[in-house]
Symmetry: C2
Subunit: 355 residues, 2 copies
DNA sequence: ATGAAAGCGCTAACAA
DNA sequence: TTGTTAGCGCTTTCAT
């Protein structure tokens, strides 16, 4: 019946033959009611299609009804953070909370009950401000050691993920994998670099790391990759004419140039495409002559030619878990000292010689 | 001063020496106050850092404080819809409204004040349900002719965009551009097909259209593209060995095969990458032998090898305009019969021979 | 174990 | 032009 006023708590109470107080307690779960009453009220509420009015509830509870979400400045267009944000939104709206996207430069005291911060950069002033606001803050990924500690932290197991990826390319024949990673002070980039260095040391392999901006342009990634592959990385745009091909014939088995990598692991979201372009220009066949893998999966990785082996970081689930942690804090639970962990999936594709 | 209770309207009223009503009217803009009073109250409010409590406002106004957003089922992972959703969220939160993502199958009467629906598919039952809810509905892109009309429609000029794209590849030498488009009954796909047919007819060109799913897998797009290019589109994964190359030497100028396209325009988000992969397998150099262009720009297009010429549909702005239209409706403005239009930008990249 | 009553912050009738 | 008053729907003392 469109147009009919949605049922209020009073409607439910009357229909159930109890008072508003009892109805509220029965539905809200405060534990001093008879089982019968509780079940009866719940039944009536369900039959009437009762949904608590979030505005009234927030007003009464003294809550703003929103949580603030702080994404890295470069987040726009990065599928990872979009998925993360959707995860936060979906989880929050189940509790009747909305999500406020914090403007990058805003020093404005946002109207929120708490914050979720993801991939905080060392020294980000806004992160410091949030931490000092007195409101609960959940950080997705660790904040830098020196900074004030967030109320709770949720972490992805990037070490395990990268090790799986490196083991994978090693199993496919790569003996000199290189890493393209940001040098920015995010816990993610740091974990990647540390893990890579450890992995190399354990195998007595010389580390080959190159800096790539967190949010790199195609040309930047391509040039760095080209340099890594021993070419000049000239100014020619992506078009690869036949003349450029087969300039560096080599296979994983027979690669003679001792220093040149036979695999490139690309950290920044989407950057593997730049490495593929560089490989093409160098006359290398990706998946055969050169393996390419990405630390962040996305639609672009699946669609690339060839499709790129990547780590599925499950950003949506990650966002949902960050939101859950904040919700628990808001519900009065004690801040959890332990940090959650969730698995990372390796998606093998043609770029590392897989199916 | 963290911990201090945020100022209420009463605080502002007292500080300004007026009543709550006057303060409310001064800030809310109802037009029966002296300029001086209004300015004075606004000044005091600003000095105190007053922000209206959205929960109280919504409760009083009888609003739920949320707008429902319905995205196509395949939206997850498609950057276009993510950007669109962010546009809606950003615009809505400026008005203190939150955005509720409507679950794909939900028949549940969501707790919202109105709806935004984007790219409604012909016969989508949920769209019909929303339209019949009595709440205002803004549709991004037209709904199918037979269905009940939404309260307002916001359209992107896909005809103009596609014409610009076709003219662009024609200017770069393409004489037989093909179109890869979904056959689904979205207004977008229909506009694309109609425009393409018209454009071809005007030039006495034989249309070359192929169906591709709205949300295609890499292999699907690659196979359809390969078939279009005269190859078999076999099962070999994306890896392109040197042996496959230069099988079909040809340039835009000298292409002899009367029927084979010299350009492929790809409609579905990301699908151009599949076309590029197929071109590589066919030994064609994208940007030279074969031009490739996309109807939906994204980070993947910019990062591809070569970067792909694409239409920047400005999804974020589009979402914001849809939200604005709904906000206007909720504010009591009359439904606008005219449909908004916004320009589309053509981003020329190497895949069509550009810089 | 249940009910009565107050009040969260705001806006819209109705007075003055 | 401005102030008084009531009440949106809910949760929470406090009393029974």
């Amino acid at each position: 019946m469109p147009g009919a006023r949605p049922p209020t708590l009073l409607d439910v109470a009357r229909a159930a033959g109890v008072s508003r107080t009892t109805a509220s307690a029965a539905l809200g779960g405060s534990g001093r009611l008879s089982k019968e009453t509780r079940a009866h009220v719940a039944d009536v509420a369900a039959r009437l299609g009762y949904r608590a009015n979030p505005a009234a509830r927030h007003l009464r509870r003294g809550r703003l009804g929103a949580i603030g979400l702080h994404l890295p400045a470069q987040a726009t267009g990065l599928a990872y953070y979009m998925e993360f944000a959707f995860g936060v939104v979906e989880r929050a709206q189940r509790e009747g909370l909305s999500v406020t996207l914090l403007a990058p430069g805003a020093t404005d005291p946002a109207q929120v009950d708490g914050f979720v911060v993801v991939d905080p950069l060392r020294g980000d002033p806004l992160v410091g401000a949030l931490l000092g606001s007195g409101l609960p803050v959940v950080s997705g990924e660790q904040v830098a050691p020196g900074e004030p500690a967030p109320t709770a932290v949720v972490q992805t197991d990037h070490e395990g993920g990268l090790r799986a990826l490196l083991d994978h390319v090693a199993a496919r024949g790569a003996r000199r994998p290189a890493l393209l990673a940001p040098d920015e002070a995010s816990a993610w980039a740091q974990a990647l670099r540390t893990t890579y260095d450890d992995w190399c040391r354990e195998r007595a392999i010389v580390p080959r790391v190159r800096d790539v901006p967190f949010s790199a342009t195609p040309d930047e990634v391509r040039e760095v990759s080209a340099e890594l592959l021993g070419a000049r990385g000239g100014r020619t745009s992506g078009a690869t004419g036949p003349a450029d091909r087969a300039a560096h014939p080599r296979s994983v088995e027979t690669a003679g140039d001792a220093g040149l990598p036979d695999a490139i692991v690309c950290a920044p979201d989407g950057s593997a495409l730049g490495a593929i372009a560089a490989a093409g220009e160098a006359g290398l066949t990706v998946g055969d002559d050169l393996l390419v893998a990405a630390c962040v999966d996305s639609a672009a990785m699946a669609l690339a030619g060839p499709p790129v082996t990547a780590l599925d970081l499950r950003p949506r689930e990650f966002g949902a878990r960050c939101a859950s942690a904040l919700l628990a804090l808001l519900a009065g639970e004690r801040p959890t000292a332990e940090t959650l962990r969730q698995p990372i999936d390796l998606v093998a594709r043609a770029s590392t010689g897989g199916g």
